[in-house]
């Protein structure tokens, strides 16, 4: 099999990690000390939430799949930290980080994993299906690439209603070969929709590396050119770079109502899901290299220590608090009751849950 040509990586990825060259970008320079600390706190909270999830999973309390976000925190944190009232987000099944970033509580997130009534979807969605529409978060979708057309529809609705907003539709590097994604690209470009397709490229679509899955001889974002869309590549280990380059795409959406494809290079430390023993397709050394040298939470901490925004003591305090919050959420997720058998048939139809003289439904809709 012919090897594809060298991938287009962001320049900053080719150098050893150090002070971020994007610290002075206006979108970052304008952040107050408190805002920077808040951003770091959110990243630390995602990290500790996920690590706590591993323990609960290993205790057998989480069924089904658990796709961890550890290592990719700067992507959700950097992009979502820029969003305003009319900006919406939607993603695939690696959706915990985005949920915590939009402001979902650890309790409801953790209890959804254990399938409890206190979960964000009352135990009906699970890990892959977090939703918080009150926070403009539209999931949490289980089928690879299936959310891309939905995101395009959210952007369409924002434009239809005449609002200055956007949709950020996230996907993994494996999704770019799904037809639904290409159909979404075409519609977004054809109709000038305010959408940013964010490819979180962690290098592996499950256990298949990009080289073994994707024919395009270049970076994945470049496929945007085939649809006349703008694109960019981003070092996803540097939250400042994520913010700086996403801000450009967001302006394009808000000011020109034009779509963008962003490819954010990132890395996951754990398997595709907890069911993946992670022994067949990559080396332990590769994971160690990323953990030691490109960890996004660690790099941002160092950045803020250099900027004297953080002190080691404050950082410790933030991390301790995040761990304690995750511990508490684990207790909540343990103690929240199961949904009941009667709950199984609720939330299927709006008209059924709200049946009355004005609803359009009669007859039997839930069958024996």
């Amino acid at each position: 099999m012919a090897k594809p040509a060298v991938l287009t990586h962001p320049e900053s990825l080719k150098r050893p990690a150090g002070p971020s060259e994007y610290a002075k970008d206006p979108v970052n320079a304008s952040l107050s000390k408190a805002e920077k600390i808040a951003l770091y706190t959110k990243m630390a909270r995602i990290r500790h939430f996920e690590q706590r999830c591993i323990r609960i999973y290993q205790q057998g309390k989480i069924g089904g799949f658990l796709h961890l976000y550890v290592g990719q925190e700067a992507v959700a944190a950097g992009t979502i930290s820029l969003l305003g009232k009319h900006d919406h987000i939607i993603t695939g099944y690696r959706d915990h980080g985005h949920g915590l970033m939009v402001g979902m509580g650890m309790n409801e997130c953790m209890a959804e994993l254990t399938g409890r009534i206190g979960g964000c979807s009352q135990g009906k969605g699970g890990s892959m299906h977090y939703f918080a529409p009150d926070k403009n978060y539209w999931g949490g979708h289980g089928i690879v690439g299936g959310q891309a057309p939905l995101g395009t529809g959210l952007a369409y609705a924002v434009k239809y209603m005449g609002l200055k907003g956007s949709c950020l539709a996230y996907m993994g590097d494996g999704a770019v070969n799904q037809g639904a994604v290409h159909e979404a690209y075409n519609l977004a470009a054809l109709w000038d929709l305010p959408i940013i397709f964010v490819i979180e490229n962690n290098g592996y679509s499950m256990g298949t590396s990009q080289e073994r899955s994707t024919a395009h001889p270049g970076c994945l974002a470049k496929r945007a050119e085939g649809y006349g869309m703008a694109w960019d590549v981003i070092n996803g280990h540097d939250v400042y770079e994520v913010r700086a380059k996403t801000a450009v795409a967001l302006r394009r959406a808000h000011e020109e109502s034009k779509p963008t494809v962003l490819e954010i290079f990132t890395y996951r430390y754990f398997g595709h899901s907890m069911a993946d023993p992670d022994k067949t397709y990559r080396d332990k050394e590769e994971i160690k290299e990323y953990r030691d040298k490109k960890d996004p939470v660690l790099l941002f901490e160092q950045e803020l220590l250099r900027e004297k925004v953080l002190t080691p003591e404050l950082s410790q305090k933030i991390n301790d608090a995040a761990m304690a919050e995750a511990d508490k959420a684990a207790v909540f997720a343990d103690e929240s009751p199961d949904p009941t058998v009667a709950d199984i048939t609720k939330h299927i139809y709006w008209e059924e849950d709200n049946r009355g003289p004005d609803t359009t439904s009669r007859g039997t809709i839930i069958f024996e």
Partner: protein
């Protein structure tokens, strides 16, 4: 009361709902400039403009998914599939996304979308364009499916579907598009899940939906004239929700049931109806329930054979006489 065609009735429903609610958008392949592949949306672009009546590329997974996403934010898209057969390339969107989003979000998100278009055989176009997926789709909790047989029901069900807060899939029939019938001028809806007794009788109940209703009504006439049998024809109109009471009331009256549909027999809508009758009216039956479905094969191209493959008046009469024997 005006006499208009099934096609005009559908168009009138969409026009009235476009006027009533500015969140209603018509979208699909060839719906705007081309005036609709089957002219159902004819004139709507001229009247409402390109923001409300939107041509899409041939990209069902893309534009149906887009409609679902827009509906989550409160838009009320009415999406045309040129044929329901084309829904199969958008199955993930139609089933997984539209059908599951309310449930998986614990009731936080609604999907008030309408997907409509013809779903029928009998047009000499071969297997890929002749699918009737009402049973397949209605088997998914979260989805609603209706199959109007007359202009009155087409308009009333379409208006109810557009106002409904759940995904409603309206399955029309190209062979019925020119059928004419009386339709009130004033605003009305046909609620989902209400069957209609299209002909009153005492000796046999025929349960049907879609064009099979029209076939069954013709068969009922022959049965009356030539065999002296009084047949009641129950038009389901809505597959899910299903009006179980009207079916059971009719069977309790006639004590015999024949189920007619244009689907293939395996797991068809009538498999569910047969189960219902035997489970709730077993003691009322004086004879086994019979079915007339399409002959169990992919839709044949040859027109002469396709007319025999599908339920036709002769087959319905013959099967009815067996139930009555």
């Amino acid at each position: 009361m005006a006499v208009i065609s099934y096609r005009e009735a559908l168009r009138a429903a969409m026009r009235e709902e476009l006027k009533r609610d500015d969140k209603v958008v018509i979208m699909g392949e060839e719906v705007a400039q081309f005036n609709g592949a089957y002219k159902v949306t004819e004139g709507l672009l001229k009247e409402f403009g390109p923001k409300r009546v939107v041509d899409t590329p041939i990209s069902e997974a893309g534009f149906i998914g887009l409609g679902i996403g827009a509906s989550m934010l409160g838009i009320r898209p009415v999406m045309e599939l040129m044929f329901w057969s084309f829904s199969y390339v958008a199955f993930d969107q139609i089933v997984n996304n539209a059908g599951n989003i309310r449930y998986m979000s614990g009731g936080l998100i609604n999907c008030p979308i309408v997907i409509r278009g013809p779903a029928n055989g009998g047009t000499n176009v071969g297997a890929t364009h002749s699918h009737t997926p009402e049973a397949i789709l209605a088997s998914h909790p979260g989805i609603k499916v209706v199959c109007p047989a007359t202009p009155y029901d087409a308009k009333g069900l379409m208006k109810a579907a557009i106002r409904d807060n759940d995904p409603v899939y309206v399955m029309e029939n190209t062979i019925l598009y020119n059928d004419k019938g009386e339709v009130p001028d004033e605003d009305y809806i046909v609620p989902l899940g209400v069957a209609d007794v299209k002909r009153v009788g005492t000796d046999l109940t025929i349960v049907a939906h879609g064009r099979a209703v029209i076939t069954s009504l013709k068969a009922a006439e022959i049965l009356e004239k030539e065999h002296g049998v009084s047949v009641e024809v129950v038009d389901l109109r809505s597959i899910r929700p299903l009006d179980e009471e009207t079916i059971l009331a009719s069977v309790r009256k006639t004590h015999r049931a024949l189920l007619v549909e244009e689907n293939k027999p395996f797991c068809g809508v009538d498999a569910q109806v047969a189960y219902l009758i035997q489970s709730k009216a077993f003691d009322e039956l004086d004879a086994p329930i019979h079915r007339v479905s399409s002959i169990d094969a992919p839709q044949i191209y040859c027109k002469r054979m396709e007319d025999l493959q599908m339920p036709n008046v002769e087959r319905v009469v013959a099967e009815a006489l067996k139930v009555l024997a």
